[in-house]
């Protein structure tokens, strides 16, 4: 007979402020490897994340929350074009697809670099929101970590939002 209480819950991994360097590294690596572009980190970004395109990948399991990647439509198109080496990256559907994949890879790369997350944290498929006029309601308590990178004089924002 199968035990109904056999499987143990995975360990809960607590938010660690030290992850910022890891998130920065994960993002820079993804842009460098997949978009063939070395983005500079902006250590003192002005204001909150903004832009008309936001990709989101959910985290579930030992770490619950999401990773988001937000930028202007212009930069989303540019990133798609860089990923495809100039081949048909100019339409908005392709740009959203590219942004979703970049977000997915940043989340996966971050997860791979945090050794405690590997087996206990799952990623959702990416979702992309178009439009700048929205606010995100996050179940409290939560912690947010934001990394800003620069492409074509504009910021690209990567955020890790963790439910505690």
């Amino acid at each position: 007979m199968k035990s109904l209480t056999k499987s143990a819950s995975p360990a809960v991994v607590r938010f660690d402020p030290g992850w910022k360097t890891i998130l920065e590294c994960a993002a820079v690596e993804v842009f460098e490897m997949m978009a063939n572009t070395r983005l500079e980190l902006n250590p003192t970004p002005a204001g909150e994340p903004q832009g008309e395109e936001t990709a989101m990948v959910g985290l579930a399991g030992a770490l619950c929350g999401m990773v988001t990647l937000r930028c202007s439509r212009k930069n989303a198109v540019k990133l798609a074009s860089l990923m495809l080496a100039g081949d048909s990256g100019s339409d908005s559907s392709t740009a959203r697809d590219a942004l979703g994949e970049l977000c997915n890879m940043i989340a996966g790369n971050f997860k791979a670099k945090v050794s405690t997350l590997g087996e206990h944290c799952l990623l959702s498929v990416p979702t992309v929101i178009s439009g700048a006029d929205y606010s995100m309601g996050i179940a409290e308590p939560s912690k947010t970590m934001i990394v800003a990178l620069t492409l074509a004089d504009e910021s690209i924002w990567v955020a890790l939002i963790v439910h505690q």
Partner: protein, 128 residues
């Protein structure tokens, strides 16, 4: 390794194009690339036969890569065709599960063209 017919399975059209480009940069002589957006679509392509290589994402809607891989085991048309899984997950357990289910290798996104070459070219040599 000439005139290869390759199936690329990923829910992202951008990723399918990137994978195709990486395969060509790795020096593979590809005559035809078939694309599928999920495992169910991919099974229909496999059924048509004569594939030389399958690359499949793991995390996809409708039918994910692991389910697709398991379904391939029962298909005559998939016999001897090397399957390489592509994943963003850092989970060793999922990679082990894929390899146990018959995958011949895996690539972790993000990847470089050199990594694609290292992982795929030996598989094609081995399948000939």
């Amino acid at each position: 390794m000439k005139n290869l017919k390759v199936l690329i399975v990923d829910d992202s059209a951008v990723m399918r194009k990137i994978v195709e480009r990486a395969l060509r940069q790795a020096g593979l002589d590809i005559s035809e690339v078939l694309e599928a957006g999920n495992g169910a679509e991919a099974l229909a392509e496999v059924q048509k036969g004569s594939l030389d290589l399958i690359l499949s994402d793991i995390n996809m809607p409708v039918m994910d890569g692991l389910e697709f891989l398991k379904s391939l085991a029962a298909m005559e048309a998939a016999k001897g065709v090397p399957v390489v899984m592509i994943t963003t997950e850092g989970s060793e357990a999922r990679v082990v599960e894929a390899l146990s289910a018959g995958a011949k290798g895996y690539l972790r996104k993000p990847f470089t063209p050199d990594q694609v070459k290292e992982r795929i070219v030996p598989l094609l040599r081995g399948s000939q």
